[in-house]
Symmetry: C2
Subunit: 340 residues, 2 copies
DNA sequence: CTGAAAGCGCTTACAG
DNA sequence: CTGAAAGCGCTTACAG
């Protein structure tokens, strides 16, 4: 099927391309009669403007780029869900890329998106991203950038986050209030800000409740996986029999721990209480169901997109735009892994 | 930052735009010296071709569209994972849209992708899609189309599927061989081909093993949700106490059933055996772990993309292309919900 | 080996 | 209210 162009419509109607274009773009200086005729023929021929040409002229692609560590992940797929749904409603399409937790890949993807000339970029950093030149490059190219969840404090742009420190505090406090006296923390990797913050929250809660902080009760995940949860639980059980509570960096890790204790017949929460983080769907269906912290993925995606579109709009109108950081609330979800 | 153009490079080097372009696109009729000079300056100025202009000239966007029912879904997010990873390696970016099981939205999204002039479209149909005019429109526009998983037999294009009928047969046979005599089927919606096929496989297995088929043991999901699994399990338990096996259309539904039986203290698999479908990660961590059918999402995405790129390539070279249907193998995964 | 010119399909400042 | 013209930044057939 040959695509219809403005030119064909103009010829058919015996008017100029200019006038056809104006009629379609709601210019006020077109007679109602002409406009009606154009609209009618456009409908009839099923004309769709060639977006390549429109992009070239307007220097806009009406497309935004999204980079996340991985998509097969309850939290991130929820974020993606929110972003593509809201973007579509606002007339934007979304190109999604996964960094697979690789700084190198992330940098390459940024280059790709820049050369695709997306109108803006949303991203959550890989756990291994240390150098931030690629983010600065985005900003240098005047491409609006919004970071969410895994952010860097060193980059000046809009951000959407939760307060991981207070959420980590709340999780630990909940264990303490459930009667735990010796609480281990299976933490995330050393690099990402949010796993640092959750750890700091844990530490602060111990201090506030006069429990000793013990470095040997901190276990550090590399991949934040089910297996790590399982293996660290085993280690905790064999090396620290008196631990009576675990705060896991993520539900997946917490579920790994639950699996281990179920296997060896340790009673949860009577002998050991466990709390995760993120509220994955999975946590509701295992037994015992896993207590956790609600991490609002959908809201996060929605807000990140909203900030990005605002910045795109401001830039287009050459208006000043002040970067904003939105901190979304979290709360403890009590389930059977911490109380009965 | 002002973007560098071919023109600027040409002026700087005192040569023509044509020559610069040729040097960058590996034309053979450029002297090595000129080429080297161009490449050096390009590197130095960090020149990136304006993809809008390239698209307009070449009539290619190097972008493909992907429409799936929903992304927050273990099976589909695995497919997306495969597609965007492989596409990136081949120089294509992916625009993802979710139909949310709405035929209307699906049609709108097809229009969007057509007017974006993507180079090809990959899709899995919504459960509620009955009218197929939008798919025919894609084909009329000469946009390569590959359907996967939820396909329609009425559309002539490449497809990647599993044999749902034989997989349904295998699941049911596994229950029979585990000793089940009266097997219920919690099936998917009436419309999609794959839930029809799984149902037919179930029916055939009963016949082959001389078990009576009983329509009152068929329960039809609308949303294919955890809750439906839970509620149908309750119904089965209260109305058909002698049912000793359940084949659930999907792991999520199977897990809902497991949750109900766990709650009321019915022993799985001793009193009732349950098998799901798809092999979601979740099925390995619940207790008892859920037997299921392995549905190779990653492979499916990979193959669908491969077929699409082949078709795009053939079209570009104006070569004949024969549509192909790839049927991926599945197998039963035995876990504790069907044997001990 | 090099380059002038046409053209992809639009939008928009400007003239009438 | 209408339209001729320029131009967005490339690629490519063609001439030399």
């Amino acid at each position: 099927m040959k695509e219809v162009t403005l030119k064909e419509i103009a010829i058919e109607l015996g008017i100029s391309i200019t006038t056809v274009s104006k009629a379609l773009n709601n210019y006020s200086d077109v007679s109602p009669k002409t406009k009606a005729a154009v609209l009618k023929l456009v409908e009839q021929l099923n004309y769709k403007p060639n977006s390549f040409a429109v992009n070239l002229r307007t220097k806009e692609s009406k497309t935004i780029g999204l980079i996340i560590p991985e998509i097969v992940h309850h939290f991130f797929s929820n974020i993606v869900n929110a972003i593509i749904e809201k973007a579509e409603k606002k007339g934007y399409l979304v190109i999604i890329l996964q960094s697979n937790e690789s700084e190198k890949l992330e940098k390459k993807q940024i280059d790709l998106l820049i050369s695709k000339r997306v109108d803006g970029i949303l991203m959550s950093l890989s756990n291994n991203t240390k150098n931030l030149d690629h983010l600065r490059k985005v900003i240098d190219h005047n491409i609006p950038l919004v970071l969410f969840d895994k952010i860097s404090k060193l980059i000046d742009c809009s951000k959407v986050i939760i307060n991981d420190r207070s959420a980590g505090y709340d999780a630990t406090e909940h264990l303490i209030k459930s009667g735990c006296k010796k609480i281990a923390h299976i933490r995330g990797p050393l690099n990402p800000q949010n796993s640092i913050d959750r750890f700091l929250g844990y530490k602060k809660a111990l201090t506030d409740y006069n429990l000793p902080f013990n470095n040997s009760l901190i276990f550090t995940c590399e991949k934040v996986s089910f297996e790590e949860g399982y293996n660290f639980a085993k280690k905790i059980y064999t090396e620290h029999k008196d631990v009576d509570g675990i705060f896991a960096i993520t539900d997946l890790v917490g579920i790994g721990a639950v699996a281990y204790f179920n296997e060896v017949g340790i009673k949860i929460p009577q002998q050991i209480a466990i709390i995760g983080f993120s509220n994955w769907f999975m946590s509701t269906v295992i037994s015992p169901s896993l207590s956790t912290i609600d991490q609002p993925g959908f809201e996060m995606g929605k807000n990140a997109l909203k900030l990005l579109l605002k910045e795109i709009k401001a830039q287009k109108k050459e208006r000043e735009f002040k970067y904003k950081t939105i901190v979304l609330p979290t709360h403890v979800i009590k389930r059977n892994s911490t109380s009965n």
